[in-house]
Amino acid sequence: MTTSNPPINTSAGTISGNRGLQLEEPLIFEMDVPGRSGVDLPDVPKHKERLAGMKRKGAVGLPGLAESQVVRHYTKLSQKNYAIDMSVYPLGSCTMKHNPRINEKIARLPGIADLHPMQPVSTVQGALELIDTLAHWLKTLTGMPAVAMSPAAGAHGELCGMLTIRAAQLAKGDARKRILVPESAHGTNPATAASIGYEVDPVPADERGRVDLAAFKAKLGPDVAGTMITNPNTCGLFENDIIDIADAVHGAGGYFYCDGANFNAIVGRVRPGDLGVDAMHINLHKTFSTPHGGGGPGSGPVVLSEALAPYAPLPYVVHGANGFDLVEHDGGKSFGRLKGFHGQMGMFSRALSYILSHGADGLRQVSGDAVLNANYLQASLRSDLSVAFPGTCMHEALFNDDFLEGTGVTTLDFAKAMIDEGYHPMTMYFPLVVHGALLMEPTETESKDGLDRYIEVVQGLARRAKAGDAAYFHGAPYHTPRRRLDETLAARQPILRWKPEETKKAAE
């Protein structure tokens, strides 16, 4: 006998606000039970108090939670995130590749994770050897004679490189004030140059998405300190005039700073030192796969030419009489210290692990497969999307929004619809030289079958947009823990921390 159940209204909300595995989660401050704690510590021994009368009078205001609650809280938060561990993360210019777990294990080895930066160098010979070994391979892979290891991230590396250039010019009594930066550059390039007092002079792109060589040459002059150029550039293209550019800037007495954010496309195949580069940062969190961790930490060593090497920041590792030594003070030409201690050791150990795991043959395969994957995406999407520039690309494929013309769907809408399909969107509206840009970087760690599924989705969405289903796109995403968020409200009335009254207001 069959029973007939009443029809279920599937659109009704749940009592809890949860939707199956999508679990609502309050702030830790809303779970507070005073006196509760997630740690047990030993009793405080008898002692003489020496606090100069400055003992804290009020409570900090931290909430009390037990370990079980803390583990659930962060587990539930983690489940609201997209990650490379789930699927394709085609965020162009960010190189979201698989993070090998051996790297995590290596970084946590006793004798690495528990070293204090100020131990006597005699007790950290292995750590200095590790830094020196990584430095050696970074120099070898880039064809450059020196490397500054301490910068904490890409933009910090840019700062390091530009300060080195500035110091070298000042040492010659040749103060210069202008830096040529292509319009397609990452925002960090002009921000870095401006932060140390340079005037940023933008260089237009030509119709092939490259630096306009004639315009570049026309801007050169005795006041030009140098240029900051990303190669392969942010349009995903190799600057084929790169040697002419380098010669021209050198001819004018300037230096060539290369933004190495896109080194993944050429690692093991092209050495920037062969292209006339004077300084270049390497984002270890991109090419060498140290985890992005929700926005850091990064690491941005800067390789330097012979001419710039003497001006590198402190500290640095040298081969001394009794093994490795660390130069922390110097009356020489160094431009100074850029960061506390010695650099991002935890990223160095991961990057070295990555380099050894891949080896000379694997690193070549990394760049080759990254470029092949991007070209496969571009070729497969060519008829449904609009490719920004003709020809093959390097490690990322750039599209403009011509294919959306007249559909009422914007690049942003398209990106939000990709989220519902289970994909993190590509980079949107960057580089600025392309209208409504969609920049896709699949990286070498995606399989062909994985890319085929992704391509099918993107094609399907493009066809859906062209079929006139704009309203669907305007409403997307539908299936995420939160739907489109009001960024204007957030900026106009900033609520940047929890306060009891504001939480109450929001709940009303």
């Binding site: 989660e25 997630g38 740690v39 510590l41 008898k46 002692h47 108090e49 100069a52 931290l62 909430p63 009390g64 370990e67 803390v70 962060y74 609201k80 995130n81 997209y82 490379i84 561990d85 995590e104 006793p110 994770a113 070293l115 930066p117 131990q119 005699s122 010979q125 904490a152 991230a153 933009a155 990452h186 925002g187 960090t188 932060s195 050429i266 985890p291 929700g294 922390e328 100074g336 210290r337 960061k339 506390g340 201690f341 990223m347 795991s357 891949h358 043959d361 694997g362 497969d369 092949l372 070209n375 093959t392 989220i419 399989s447 409403g475 939160r482 489109r484 409200l489 957030a490 940047l496």
Partner: protein
């Protein structure tokens, strides 16, 4: 190659789709001669996982880790116990392998913990708001000086002789190259300096540290008044955030910007990085604050959620007009910090701080009985300065030969005669009776 899924048949099929004869042909734009035709030399081919462990493990074994020997090092990096849950949770792939939360609908996890982190930092420092973290304490300090220069439209920073020398050097580097002046007070080992005398109409900020590099605990209330009367801002740096569980926070002394090194909570020593810079300010300065910030908002269904906000300050929007060139923060280290702080809670942090102070206080009493040792501090939290009868660098080397990591010689950071005999000693909740006894015995021998 275990990380690379493409097979030869895949590549063939993909090249056919692209219409290219070979992968090499995709590099046609590379100038003649610059394209390598073979793998780089010297590096071995890809290594099995076990060999990588062996190779780097051998380097690790050449070091003496702080967990393998009695250790009393501090000077801005401290060895604390990290609850097991912290490392377990930060290794969840959804945290570890996600990017900066540019697409908030699929990054609410990151955004919510950053919002909680910002709140914790504001509470700890006694300030109104905080950003989503910086690279480390030293870079946070120089960003604070740059911010004070922007707000006051002045270009001269006064730096305490009690500020961590690396922090001072990083600020001086930026000063030299970005066009502001720095007045660095002499080393203040005694904790008695008077900075008010450096104030003037051109001073943008005064940078102090609490507890100072030498360990002294200060009340900056009067200094803050003098600084404000001169139209400048007070920047307070904290290199040991555990101290904030026991001490009056800088916000209650009138600080305008508080910067801190957050390593002590949740993050291993790791030979100096990656660490996490904390940055907190008064509400009125929020639009001049550098770095990423998370803000609360609502979604189209009216539900509470979080986004990155105030991005019109930032480089990806403002380019050469940005408040800072910073793009990356220290997200995963901030996550470790916030998880550890959540585990501690009010009660746990209070007890942790009390335990640190008690341990250090007892160690100071014992060391003061050693011939040739003089304790310079009347006040301190978990680190103090000793004046020895011999140069401290040699003493520390001699202790290392006995497998004791006996503190940080000040001359390691500030070379020269002045600080030659000064030694910084730190103790934490991890310091045991046996370790203290070992240090006392070791120092007696070395100083004899």
């Amino acid at each position: 190659m275990r990380f690379l899924p493409l097979t030869e048949p895949d590549r063939k099929a993909m090249l056919a789709k692209v219409g290219a004869p070979s992968v090499e042909s995709l590099y046609a734009d590379v100038p003649n001669g610059a394209l390598l035709t073979a793998p780089i030399t010297g590096l071995s081919n890809h290594m099995p996982e076990m060999e990588v462990e062996r190779f780097i493990g051998a380097m690790a074994q050449k070091n003496i880790g702080t967990n393998a020997a009695p250790s009393f090092l501090g000077a801005g990096a401290y060895r604390h116990h990290i609850p097991a849950a912290v490392d377990h949770l930060i290794q969840r792939g959804e945290f570890l392998t996600s990017y900066t939360p540019y697409q908030p609908e699929v990054a609410q996890g990151t955004l919510q913990y950053l919002f909680e982190f910002q709140t914790q930092v504001a509470l700890l420092t006694g300030m109104d708001v905080a950003n989503a973290s910086m690279y480390d304490g030293a870079t946070a300090t120089t960003e604070a000086v740059a911010m004070a220069n922007r707000i006051t439209r002045r270009k001269k920073a006064v730096i305490s002789g009690g500020l961590h020398p690396h922090y001072r050097e990083v600020v001086e580097t930026h000063g030299r190259h970005t066009g502001f002046e720095t007045v660095s007070a002499p080393l203040d080992a005694a904790g008695k300096e008077d900075l008010a005398k450096h104030l003037g109409p051109d001073v943008s900020c005064v940078v102090v540290q609490n507890p100072s590099f030498f360990g002294h605990i200060h009340d900056f209330t009067k200094l803050a008044e003098a600084v404000h009367a001169a139209g400048a801002l007070l920047i307070v740096a904290v290199t040991e955030v555990v101290s904030l569980g026991l001490l009056t926070p800088p916000g209650e002394m009138g600080a305008d910007i508080v910067v801190a090194e957050g390593q002590s909570i949740g993050n291993p020593l790791g030979f100096g990085g990656p660490y996490v810079g904390l940055f907190a300010v008064r509400e009125k300065f929020v639009r001049q604050m550098p770095g990423r910030v998370t803000g609360q908002t609502t979604d189209v269904d009216g539900r509470r959620g979080w986004v990155l906000t105030l991005s019109t300050r930032e480089q990806h929007i403002r380019r050469e007009k940005a408040t800072s060139n910073i793009c990356t923060n220290s997200g995963l280290c901030a996550l470790a910090f916030t998880i550890h702080m959540t585990l501690l809670g009010e009660a746990g942090l209070n007890q942790l701080a009390a335990l640190n102070h008690a341990t250090a206080s007892n160690l100071a009493d014992r060391l003061a009985t050693v011939p040739g040792v003089k304790l310079l501090n009347e006040s301190f939290f978990n680190e103090f300065t000793l004046e020895l009868s011999k140069p401290a660098i040699g003493v520390v080397e001699a202790l290392a030969k006995k497998r004791i990591l006996g503190g940080v010689p000040v001359a390691r950071l500030v070379p020269g005669k002045e600080a030659e005999k000064l030694l910084l000693i730190a103790a934490t909740e991890l310091t045991t009776e046996a370790e203290m006894a070992a240090l006392v015995a070791g120092l007696k021998e070395v100083l004899a």
